[in-house]
């Protein structure tokens, strides 16, 4: 009954091609970051660590990294709090215009980034916050809010509302129910939202490009400028570092989950 359908060879092969397409960029930038020449050309003739040295000694690069991380953490924190609260409100109060508010909160995903960038740049300039950390932060918060609202809403959908009733009848007041029951149970959604928000900010180029100043330049903008203004393999270093970083971030929890599964299995079979 619950037997697995045998996997057909063509399917596996096609998935292999797809996987290759997905990881091909990873396979290429890492060697490129160790190139000796100031060039992106293949094949790579000599190897060196000079671009890594450059990345960690040139304030433009490590400064951009710092800016990106600082802004991403800030944006993710604010977006997570605001987005989670909004998702909870939308989930509970069956508001008459709930769908409209939801649509509004999701708008930043739908609007092409160049449009957002131009508009935000113009308006923020008028407010005097273009080119300030606050401006970039606000833009990234807004951009990240949908990425929090979506997973938190999903988590809330699978949250059994009778658990809240149970908590109430057991003596928990409003705060107790929120902190001790609801929040812990939707926390996977909230954490996913935070990670999404963080990565969204870390990855955003177009708006950050318009809002940049020499002292407020995110890593992706630095990379973009680097490809367009000068031939600088340091971008390969930045790419490799981000690749390795994101791979570790994704793999670690999975690795631990797999290990725990294996341990549990080992315990079950005496």
């Amino acid at each position: 009954m619950n037997q697995r359908t045998p996997v057909r060879l063509p399917l596996a092969l096609w998935a292999g091609v797809t996987a290759l397409l997905l990881v091909a960029p990873t396979l290429v930038v890492i060697p490129l970051s160790f190139t000796e020449r100031r060039s992106f050309s293949f094949p790579i003739e000599g190897w060196s660590l000079q671009w890594y040295e450059r990345f960690f000694t040139d304030p433009r690069w490590y400064g951009a990294l710092g800016t990106s991380i600082a802004v991403a953490i800030g944006a993710a924190l604010v977006a997570t709090v605001a987005g989670t609260l909004a998702a909870i409100a939308l989930d509970r109060a069956r508001l008459r215009y709930g769908w409209l508010i939801r649509a509004l909160l999701l708008l930043p995903v739908v609007v092409p980034q160049i449009v957002a960038a131009v508009a935000i740049f113009g308006t923020y300039l008028g407010w005097g916050i273009s080119g300030t950390p606050l401006g970039l932060l606000l833009a990234h918060i807004v951009l990240a809010i949908p990425f929090v609202v979506i997973p938190v809403s999903t988590a809330l959908q699978s949250f059994d509302p009778t658990l809240e009733r149970a908590a109430a009848v057991l003596g928990a007041g409003g705060w107790g129910r929120f902190w001790q029951v609801q929040l812990p149970l939707i926390s996977p959604g909230v954490i996913t939202g935070f990670v999404f928000a963080f990565v969204t900010s870390l990855d955003e180029v177009v708006i950050a490009y318009f809002l940049q100043t020499p002292t407020l330049r995110s890593l992706p903008v630095q990379m973009y400028s680097s490809v367009t203004v000068e031939t600088d393999p340091t971008i390969a270093v930045a790419s490799s570092l981000m690749l390795v970083f994101s791979t570790i971030v994704i793999l670690l929890p999975r690795f631990f989950a797999a290990r725990r599964r294996r341990l549990l299995k080992a315990k079950e079979t005496p």
């Binding site: 509970r92 092409p112 994704i250």
Partner: protein, 280 residues
């Protein structure tokens, strides 16, 4: 537990105010400029539609977005399907293969494609090895499409795999017990059940593809320019905010129209599946 209207307003306030003030106001004001500059009226739109570039690039953008949707389905569906067939460990590996690029900076990936697709680059070499020498994909439509598909594919796979993993495999067994062979089981049962996921994934990929800027900029030639780049030129080269605002509105309306059309076209499917309200 029910929440009072005042409480929910309080909870909604931060997010709604942030989005409204920091996002909707700017978008609104730039769109407004397209109607007020140089004077009140539709002059900007007359100008934009008189320019042959607008419609041509808009049409191209729609085609490219559709192409991206098609290719993402072509690669993503079998991949997501495979994920439902394999064991948990293999599934985790397949998932990581999707997530790693997903979490990797868009700049990094686009840049990697520049290196991969350049003249005499790895892809060229691979094609030469396969017997097709002298092909350079950088600066071609194919190059742009490859880059876009790679960037968009994770969205498709993630959306699809959620739907596919929820399909009750018991239904496939049932279909076989009722006399359907493998292919009929797939086409008459599995595929129709996966359509909501196909639709959701396609809509997502389509919307994202419409706004692509960096990738065609770096991987394509002017002939592959998409609407976002044309908007970029209007702003940066021509300092034409009204025109950019007008184009933005055109893009937004096109997006909305396409989505509405798709939703209408798929209504029978949704109706059959009884979407919505199945949780609570």
């Amino acid at each position: 537990m029910h929440t009072s209207a005042r409480w929910s307003a309080l909870l909604l306030a931060p997010a709604v105010l942030l989005v409204a003030i920091c996002f909707v106001v700017p978008i609104g004001s730039i769109v407004l400029r397209s109607f007020t500059e140089p004077e009140l009226g539709l002059a900007t739109y007359e100008r934009l539609f008189a320019d042959p570039t607008t419609l041509r690039v808009l049409g191209r953008t729609l085609l490219v977005a559709l192409g991206a949707v098609g290719l993402c389905l072509l690669f993503g569906y079998p991949y997501a399907y495979l994920m439902t067939l394999v064991g948990p460990d293999m599934r985790a590996v397949l998932m990581v293969l999707v997530l790693v690029p997903f979490w990797t900076s868009l700049m990094a990936r686009t840049f990697a494609w520049v290196s991969l697709l350049q003249r005499d680059g790895p892809v060229s070499a691979l094609l030469a090895f396969a017997g097709v020498p002298g092909v350079t994909l950088l600066g071609t439509a194919a190059g742009v499409m490859i880059g876009m598909v790679q960037i968009l594919l994770p969205y498709m796979v993630l959306t699809l795999s959620t739907t596919l993993s929820r399909i009750d495999r018991g239904l496939l067994t049932a279909a076989q017990s009722l006399g359907a062979n493998r292919y009929r089981t797939f086409f008459q049962v599995y595929l129709p059940l996966s359509l909501p996921g196909v639709f959701a994934g396609s809509a997502l990929v389509f919307i994202l593809a419409l706004g692509f800027y960096i990738t065609p900029q770096l991987l394509g030639s002017p002939r592959e320019s998409l609407i976002a780049q044309v908007i970029g030129v209007r702003v940066e080269r021509l300092v034409d905010f009204a025109g950019a605002g007008g184009l933005s509105l055109i893009v937004l309306l096109t997006t909305a129209l396409c989505l509405a059309a798709a939703v209408l076209a798929f209504r029978p499917v949704r109706a059959m599946l009884g979407q919505g309200g199945d949780r609570r």
